[in-house]
């Protein structure tokens, strides 16, 4: 039984030798192809093929684009360029909103250290005096309060646990919740 298991557990596979040959062939081909693509002649040939394709397709592409713009104009529909322009304006608006958001956070951080400007996970924690930080940095010309409010997390870090922090994080991470919180602060 034991002998049978040891010697005859693997059934005869007529394709085994074929697989061996196939793997050797693929390995050889793989090495040859890696060398072939890393040559100047391959780079030159592939570059020429791409160049030819792009040159030949350019008139067709340009003609298609022109006629499409005309059709859309006739139908009073926005062209691709119009939509691109709009999208770019949206992105600019988003950037400005992001800047305003950051400025608002800073202002709120200064005036209400526990309001949305404060980092979410530390918002629920009591603020401790910032005196030790000022002491450790005697070169600083900023008053203690300024230091504490500019980096509120520094002051809040040592205290409180995750149970307090979790609701604040959830509440303040979403944009609508932060807007609501700001309104409440006013």
């Amino acid at each position: 039984m034991g002998e049978g298991q040891a010697g005859g557990s693997k059934p005869f596979d007529p394709l085994e030798s074929f697989r061996g040959l196939r793997d050797i062939y693929l390995d050889t081909m793989a090495k040859a192809m890696v060398e072939a693509v890393n040559t100047e002649s391959y780079a030159k040939t592939s570059g020429a093929m791409l160049d030819t394709t792009l040159t030949m397709s350019a008139p067709l592409r340009e003609g298609l684009e022109k006629s499409m713009v005309q059709v859309l104009e006739q139908l009073s529909l926005p062209s691709r360029q119009d939509i691109i322009t709009l999208a770019e304006r949206f992105t600019n608006l988003e950037m400005r909103l992001d800047d305003m958001d950051a400025k608002l956070d800073r202002i709120l951080g200064l005036s209400h250290p526990t309001q949305p400007g404060v980092p979410a996970e530390t918002a629920a924690k009591p603020v401790v005096p910032a005196a030790p930080r000022v002491k450790s940095n005697p070169a600083s010309t900023k008053p203690a309060v300024s230091v504490a409010t500019h980096t509120p997390a520094a002051a809040a870090k040592p205290a409180a646990g995750p149970k307090q922090a979790a609701p604040a994080k959830k509440a303040l991470n979403s944009v609508p919740a932060r807007i609501a919180a700001r309104k409440g602060a006013k």
């Binding site: 780079a43 792009l54 996970e121 980096t151």
Partner: protein
């Protein structure tokens, strides 16, 4: 007569194999399963924060921002449960954020490294700092993500970056003999302006072809042969399915960034020569001060090791290290051995450098 049942069995087995093959070739695997929340968006970019599973008092004090390449989906970092780098980091107590660049549209064809490194990344970092409550943070950049994080770290050295991890970072393009892409994109053969005039953005399919053509037999034949040979092994099939889902999920590269990649880097090696201009200023790698870990894949054919080595001699970082691992460009982080070699080393390196008290500690 006895052969009839055996033949029937073989036919049934073959049918099952074709069913499995059809499934993995035509469906998408369940990927990116680690729980996360969207915390910030800008244009197509999204910043995710992975939900911590370790209590706050046991977590590392310094948050970690992951920045992946522009032309592939970042979920390779969170491929599938049990084989996810993100899941590993979260379980090790890191506060992990992921910057997903999204898919650039025609309206984004002008986006350059300048925009990604100096507009998007700093804004995402601002959000990371606000949420985590720290002024210091760590960053991990992979492939082109490593280029962007290096530019950022050199241009804004005092922004709070404490630790920088670069994975397969294509930064030095001086050795053209060993960089196949550099041959292909030589200005003698490759007209970048003609390509961008035709497409606006560099199409994902062309990028995919370029990456696969570096090893054509492995990618176009060997990969499928390996799958066929292992169709009866559910573990290998599952891994193949997830990787294939990622590999075939191609996205275009913004035209402006592609032009910089080819002209400034592949053709002129401007970053390493100290001649790269970002937002009107020269990028000086000597300004990079963060602790630096460069991870190099020894079998990387996309970013050969020679591209990632020279950075160490250029930066001002006092704490810097090169870590070499066997494997390829992606396999190094997403292969079956990644959790035994690459991930633990990154954790070991980053862990001891992430435990300072958050916010204000210098």
């Amino acid at each position: 007569m006895e052969q009839a049942p055996a033949i029937t069995e073989q036919v049934a087995l073959l049918e099952q194999r074709f069913r499995t093959l059809n499934k993995v070739m035509t469906t998408k695997a369940a990927i990116a399963q680690t729980p996360k929340e969207l915390v910030w968006t800008l244009n197509k970019a999204k910043l995710y924060r992975y939900i911590p599973v370790v209590p706050k008092e046991e977590r590392h004090g310094t948050p970690l921002l992951l920045v992946f390449a522009l032309m592939n989906r970042p979920y390779i970092l969170d491929l599938r449960p049990g084989h996810s780098f993100v899941e590993f980091l979260v379980s090790r107590g890191y506060d992990v954020y992921l910057l997903d660049w999204g898919v650039p549209g025609p309206e984004d064809k002008h986006l350059k490294f300048d925009d990604y490194a100096m507009d998007y990344i700093p804004r995402a970092i601002r959000k990371v700092k606000a949420i985590s409550g720290t002024e210091e943070f760590s960053m991990l950049g992979w492939c082109i993500g490593a280029i962007l994080t290096t530019i950022y770290a050199s241009m804004l050295p005092n922004d709070g970056l404490r630790n920088l991890i670069l994975l397969t970072a294509p930064l030095d393009f001086g050795n053209k003999q060993d960089i196949t892409f550099a041959r292909w994109t030589d200005e003698k053969y490759f007209d970048v302006e003609k390509v961008l005039a035709a497409f606006g953005n560099m199409p994902g399919e062309m990028i995919d072809y370029g990456a696969k053509a570096l090893k054509p037999v492995e990618n176009y034949i060997g990969n499928y042969v390996k799958l066929w040979d292992n169709l009866d092994n559910p573990q290998i099939v599952e891994a193949w399915h997830a990787m294939n889902t990622w590999v075939t999920d191609n996205i275009p590269l913004a035209g402006g960034a592609f032009r910089q990649l080819i002209v400034d880097l592949y053709q002129n090696n401007r970053l390493m020569m100290g001649e790269m201009i970002i937002h009107g200023q020269r990028v000086d790698l000597g300004q990079l001060q963060a602790n630096l870990l460069t991870v190099i894949a020894e079998g990387d054919h996309i970013t050969p090791p020679c591209q990632s080595e020279a950075i160490l001699s250029k930066v001002a970082s006092r704490d810097k290290e090169i870590f070499r691992v066997p494997g390829g460009h992606i396999g190094m982080m997403a292969g079956s051995d990644a959790h035994k070699r690459t991930w633990p080393h990154i954790d070991e390196w980053l862990g001891v450098r992430s435990n300072q008290k958050a916010a204000g500690s210098n």
